[in-house]
């Protein structure tokens, strides 16, 4: 029996920069018995760092439109990006807590013939893998156990702010490390693991050099811990690490999204992982 619970929210960076993340997610969830629905006509989440910083009312209304699309499909939302998760989760939270705001947003949505009543749940795919699917079902699908040392990068908006997300310990999260371990790969401890990649908050687009200073600190710590790969759960962190290393001589750590990692472990054809789009070549 297939599970029709989720609609896949694509966002911007995955489908338009690293389509392997989209493809690997679709294939992995299919193999696990999920029939991921589409969200026809969805747009940007919109991005929490840039668009929300410019105008919160616009951010909220556009997020509500995305939520309304999923509601119409009768689905919860599955996100594959910390930014999309951050925006849609936060917006949904605001609309739940504040009926006046929900009414205001619905006034705007009325102009395009849409309505949001607040029924949708917004989930991060790694949360669903860990909490809904679980170790047993995931390990059953692993035909190609991995043997590699990796640095897990949680990013900022997966478990934080914990007071509304309640997913994991914000100072010592473990979900991603466990998910990595289930594939056979080893998540090595490294200094300042919870630190941001530098891209968020509109910093990458406004001051790329400053953003890179974060990235370099992280890479230095990952390298010192002898990690051979970076595993992320966010296409934007993914982009920051992957493209950032072009401008940081001395680093050459391939960057792999968790969906791609599971794709490898589940024996998906290499072509389904879209590794050609990566700047730092993944020779696996």
């Amino acid at each position: 029996m297939t599970n029709d619970k989720f609609a896949l929210f694509l966002g911007c960076v995955a489908p338009l920069r690293y389509p392997g993340i989209e493809k690997a997610t679709r294939e992995m969830f299919k193999a696990l018995g999920y029939n991921l629905k589409e969200m026809p006509g969805a747009g940007c989440c919109p991005a929490p760092g840039v668009i929300r910083s410019f105008d919160q009312a616009t951010w909220l209304a556009l997020a509500a439109r995305n939520l309304a699309i999923a509601e119409k499909e009768g689905c919860d939302i599955l996100t594959i990006c910390n930014g999309c998760y951050g925006s849609l989760f936060d917006a949904n939270h605001i609309l739940h807590e504040d009926p006046a705001m929900l009414a205001k947003v619905n006034e705007i949505l009325k102009g395009i013939g849409m309505h949001y009543s607040g029924k949708v749940q917004v989930r991060h795919f790694a949360d669903v893998m860990f909490n809904d699917i679980g170790i047993e079902k995931l390990q059953q699908k692993i035909t190609n156990p991995l043997n590699m040392n990796v640095a897990a990068h949680y990013g900022c908006h997966f478990v934080r702010p914990s007071k509304i997300k309640h997913l994991d310990d914000p100072e010592r999260p473990h979900i991603l490390d466990e998910l990595i371990g289930w594939t056979g790969a080893k998540s090595v401890p490294y200094a300042e693991k919870n630190m941001c990649c530098g891209a968020g908050g509109g910093v990458r687009s406004r001051d790329g050099k400053f953003a890179l200073s974060f990235t370099e600190t992280k890479l230095k710590n990952m390298k010192a811990a002898k990690a051979d790969y970076i595993i992320d759960v966010c296409p934007f962190c993914h982009l920051q690490f992957d493209r950032g290393q072009k401008d940081l001589p001395g680093y050459n750590l391939p960057v792999i999204h968790l969906a791609q990692l599971y794709g490898m472990a589940m024996g998906l054809p290499r072509a389904s992982l879209g590794l050609e789009a990566h700047e730092i070549k993944v020779n696996l």
């Binding site: 694509l10 911007c12 960076v13 489908p15 338009l16 920069r17 389509p19 989209e22 493809k23 589409e38 969200m39 026809p40 006509g41 969805a42 747009g43 940007c44 919109p46 991005a47 760092g49 840039v50 668009i51 929300r52 910083s53 410019f54 105008d55 919160q56 009312a57 616009t58 209304a61 556009l62 439109r65 705007i108 102009g111 395009i112 849409m114 900022c156 908006h157 934080r160 702010p161 914990s162 100072e171 919870n194 630190m195 941001c196 530098g198 891209a199 968020g200 908050g201 509109g202 910093v203 687009s205 406004r206 001051d207 400053f210 974060f214 072509a271 389904s272 879209g274 050609e276 789009a277």
Partner: protein
């Protein structure tokens, strides 16, 4: 003469009214600054920014670069002993800065991209070819390939004043 240091209580109140209700709770312990990756290698001080906001040092804050140095990583929010919504407050002040016309050119470009395709990044022929080779549609099933959806998306941005705000079409 610069009036950058003149406190304006109405500004602090406007942050509170816009949703930054926890601004007053800050007792200046500095835990946020100590947690902040942006402040490590720069002069950016989260505690100081919050203090300036409490005092209403509007002309100091709104045109500043420091307002845009926060990556919204939430490290400070996790540790603040007073539960100050630091990131929300920074975002509210950014909104106010943008209203006053303080917006980086590169940020305007991101806004313009949203107006055009509903996405923050464009596609390319190379991307379409890669998608197709993987068995995905050349364009994702989003605003980028759906004229009606894009028109709806744009209508919302007109209605909220975003189109005007970023000087776009």
């Amino acid at each position: 003469m610069s009036n950058a240091k003149i406190p304006d209580p109405a500004f602090a109140q406007s942050i509170i009214d816009a949703g930054g209700k926890t601004l007053d709770l800050c007792y200046q312990c500095g835990t946020c600054t100590g947690s902040c990756p942006s402040g490590r290698t720069t002069a950016f001080r989260t505690r100081q920014l919050i203090r300036k906001a409490q005092l209403g040092l509007k002309d100091d804050i709104l045109p500043s670069d420091e307002l845009w140095m926060c990556t919204t990583c939430y490290s400070c929010v996790e540790r603040c002993p007073r539960d100050v919504d630091i990131v929300d407050i920074i975002i509210l002040m950014r909104n106010m800065a943008v209203q006053k016309g303080y917006m980086a050119e590169d940020h305007k470009k991101v806004g313009a991209s949203l107006l055009k395709t509903g996405h923050t990044v464009p596609s390319s022929d190379k991307m379409k070819a890669l998608r197709t080779s993987m068995g995905l549609p050349a364009d994702p099933p989003t605003t980028i390939s759906d004229a009606k959806a894009m028109a709806d998306f744009h209508k919302i941005m007109e209605k909220t004043g975003f189109v005007k705000l970023i000087g776009g079409q």
